[in-house]
């Protein structure tokens, strides 16, 4: 449990559509790349360049299905490990979620039941994964529009026990915390008081949109002011080593994206990277 956390600062997710923008950020020392899109034999040049400048590139897996009842696929774990090696990553990240069952792909991250049985399966998969990884693993609680019935834990207790049992790090997505609380009429800050904040390896932030009376964490809109306020609230309690903007579409002009990164840095009390 005494993993030394790497200082990361403000980052932005590396995506094929914004490679030039990311490459040209003068102060950037932290990015994240979707692991399933990386060929470890030929990692993108920009990512290797960032690494050579002393930056951190974190492979972010989306299809491992750590929360699935089925054991994680060894080839997917091996791919994540190979990405970490190829990019010289300080850690890798994945989700507290499952993405397939019975051979059917869900197409996205689905929540796990907050039960002892699901915690056992998740812990076993995290152990299997960590046994093969050259670096620490951080897991991200997801945004979900619904919960499983018959929960035996609340989210804070579930995640805390997961961390205690496996030693895994957390990737806390502040926008997910916001979305979940907003859609359930709860106080997002309450979760901060229930989590081992010192185990957060880094945070995500993103924007979303309301549709059909529900807030969707789409990653295609600016980060709302409420999420920036939550970032400040979190950092007042415990500042995480890094915070990263996820943008996955409807990319705004570069100046707007830079302003957004500055707003995130300011809210977190971190140095601007623009």
């Amino acid at each position: 449990m005494s993993t030394t956390l790497t200082a990361l600062g403000v980052g932005i997710g590396w995506r094929p559509e914004i490679t030039a923008f990311v490459r040209d950020l003068p102060g950037l020392r932290f990015t994240e790349v979707i692991a399933e899109g990386v060929h470890p034999g030929h990692p993108p040049r920009d990512l290797l360049d960032l690494r050579e400048r002393g930056g951190a590139v974190v492979p972010h897996g989306v299809k491992l299905s750590l929360g699935g009842a089925e054991p994680v696929a060894p080839e997917r774990v091996a791919h994540l490990a190979a990405c970490a090696e190829a990019l010289g990553s300080p850690l890798v990240s994945e989700h507290v979620a499952f993405v397939r069952a019975g051979g059917i792909e869900a197409g996205h991250l689905l929540p796990v039941p907050r039960t002892r049985a699901a915690l056992d399966a998740l812990a076993a998969n995290i152990r299997r994964t960590c046994a093969e990884l050259p670096v620490p693993l951080a897991v991200e609680p997801i945004a979900a529009l619904f919960d499983w019935p018959d929960a035996e834990y609340d989210e804070g207790a579930f995640l805390t026990e997961l961390v205690e049992r496996t030693g895994v790090l957390l990737l806390l997505d502040v926008a997910n915390v916001y979305a979940n609380a907003r859609n359930r009429g709860q106080d997002p800050v309450a979760l901060f008081d229930r989590l081992p904040l010192e185990r957060i390896a880094y945070c995500h932030v993103a924007g979303g949109a309301e549709q059909g009376g529900r807030y969707h964490d789409t990653h295609t809109a600016p980060v709302p002011a409420e999420v920036l306020d939550l970032v400040a609230e979190l950092c007042a309690r415990h500042r995480p080593p890094g915070i990263l903007l996820e943008r996955d579409g409807r990319y705004p002009p570069a100046a707007e994206l830079r302003a957004e990164l500055d707003a995130i840095a300011d809210a977190a009390g971190m140095e601007r990277v623009t």
């Binding site: 069952a101 869900a106 197409g107 002892r116 929960a151 834990y153």
Partner: protein, 172 residues
């Protein structure tokens, strides 16, 4: 609810708290079945399992189909562009109840299902893809060594990965 509130008649309740690697490594068929039922409801048109907020599960499933439409549009822009602003709706109508097999195969399966109505640009792309890859619609596509395919306005000839379109038409 916290764990202490778990019903005492659950088999897990008898297990010691904390680390139990022997049991934690075991396959749990009940959890697997519950997860499969939820995935079938969200991706394959099955009923939403008891106890869930059905409207919320459906909203999440709809959001996934919208995301898939975006991913297919990125994988095959010409295909999505053929439908203009109708793309998300047309794709969703086809994709609801069909679990994804990745955005490339989603695109390919969609294009085949709509072959008769594809505009020339998209039909051209589909023909080129089919000259390059053997795809039976079930297993992952495999590279062809050679193929000849009719394309709108000509014939595509592929040999060892090199493609030639005969008949005057060239890609923009």
């Amino acid at each position: 609810m916290t764990r202490q509130d778990a019903p005492a008649d659950r088999p897990e309740a008898a297990a010691p708290a904390g680390d139990s690697p022997e049991r934690a490594g075991e396959f749990d068929p009940a959890l697997a079945a519950a997860q499969e039922a939820l995935v079938r409801a969200m991706a394959a048109g099955a009923p939403v399992p008891d106890g869930f907020d059905e409207a919320a599960v459906r909203a999440a499933a709809d959001a996934i189909v919208r995301k898939r439409a975006g991913e297919v549009a990125r994988a095959w822009p010409v295909l999505a562009a053929s439908y203009g602003t109708d793309w998300p709706r047309v794709f969703a109508a086809w994709a609801a109840g069909r679990p994804t097999r990745g955005s490339v195969r989603d695109a390919w399966d969609f294009a085949r299902a709509h072959r008769a109505e594809l505009p020339p640009e998209a039909a051209f792309d589909l023909a080129l893809a089919e000259a390059r890859w053997a795809y039976d619609g079930q297993r992952a596509p495999r590279r062809r060594r050679a193929a000849v395919r009719r394309v709108p306005g000509g014939v595509a000839v592929q040999l060892l990965g090199r493609m030639r379109v005969l008949g005057g038409r060239t890609r923009r």
